[in-house]
């Protein structure tokens, strides 16, 4: 039960971080957290189905569900790649606008459009 609460907390913190935070880097970190929260959720519900790791060394049959673990390897690397690209974008935006605060960038963009 405690696990579900912790996952719920992770979800809440990351969703709040994505939408309400003003700094771009904080938004990217929150998006990464949301991705990790979904991954942990997947693996947690996979682990409810058994006790042992899905490596058939002995004659162990009560193994955990291997499918979520295989899927989440891909999801983790996808999360890394998106974060790397987002940080690349932020670096370039910082180089051009001199700030990573969202409000300031939007104001500068708005001023340039006039």
């Amino acid at each position: 039960m405690i696990a579900l609460l912790l996952i719920a907390l992770l979800f809440l913190v990351s969703l709040v971080g994505i939408i309400l935070s003003k700094n771009l880097i904080r938004k990217v970190m929150a998006l990464n957290m949301l991705n990790s929260a979904v991954i942990i959720l997947f693996i947690f519900f996979g682990s409810l189905k058994g006790t042992h790791a899905p490596i058939l060394v002995g004659d162990e049959t009560d193994i955990v569900d291997p499918v979520p673990q295989a899927l989440m390897l891909t999801a983790i690397v996808v999360g890394i790649c998106v974060t790397a690209l987002a940080l690349g974008f932020i670096y370039k935006l910082y180089e051009r606008y001199g700030t990573t605060e969202l409000q300031e960038i939007e104001q500068q963009v708005h001023r340039n459009d006039q």
């Binding site: 490596i55 983790i76 690397v77 890394i80 790397a84 940080l87 690349g88 670096y91």
Partner: protein, 134 residues
């Protein structure tokens, strides 16, 4: 940041073992816990330890930037060829053509090399970017 020799000693001694552990994870991926991804990330962390502790010059002596991007490009190509080989053998794309343990083993090594090279390149370029702009 001030360079202390603790950092030098630890990173020089530790990173070979991290690389060795990464290679172990990749090659024994289908028997013991581990596999292409985890092994590749362990390899990348070994390389990045040197990069961060010693700076790019030391790393360039053994692993050149172009070399790593070549590894990555041909790792991607090898995986595609493994898939196409299945198709050319008439068995269908990405279906194993060799005896059971061999295809997984080869694919594991290709994935390990590729993920390792990929993550090192990302961090190296972001690091170099910081280096130039100081």
């Amino acid at each position: 940041m001030k360079k202390t020799n603790i950092l030098d000693v630890v990173s020089r001694k530790l990173s070979p073992f991290i690389l060795l552990f990464g290679v172990y994870l990749v090659t024994f991926g289908h028997i013991s816990p581990g596999g292409g991804f985890q092994g590749g990330v362990a390899l990348a962390s070994g390389l990045l330890l040197i990069l961060l502790a010693q700076g790019p010059a030391v790393l360039k002596r053994t692993f050149s930037l172009e070399g790593i991007s070549l590894v990555e490009v041909f790792g991607y190509g090898l995986f595609l060829l493994a898939g196409l080989a299945g198709f050319l053998w008439g068995v269908g794309f990405l279906s194993p053509i060799l005896l059971p343990p061999r295809t997984i083993f080869i694919l594991n090594i290709v994935i390990g090399a590729k993920v390792g090279a990929g993550i090192t390149l990302i961090c190296w370029h972001l690091f170099l970017e910081g280096e130039d702009s100081e």
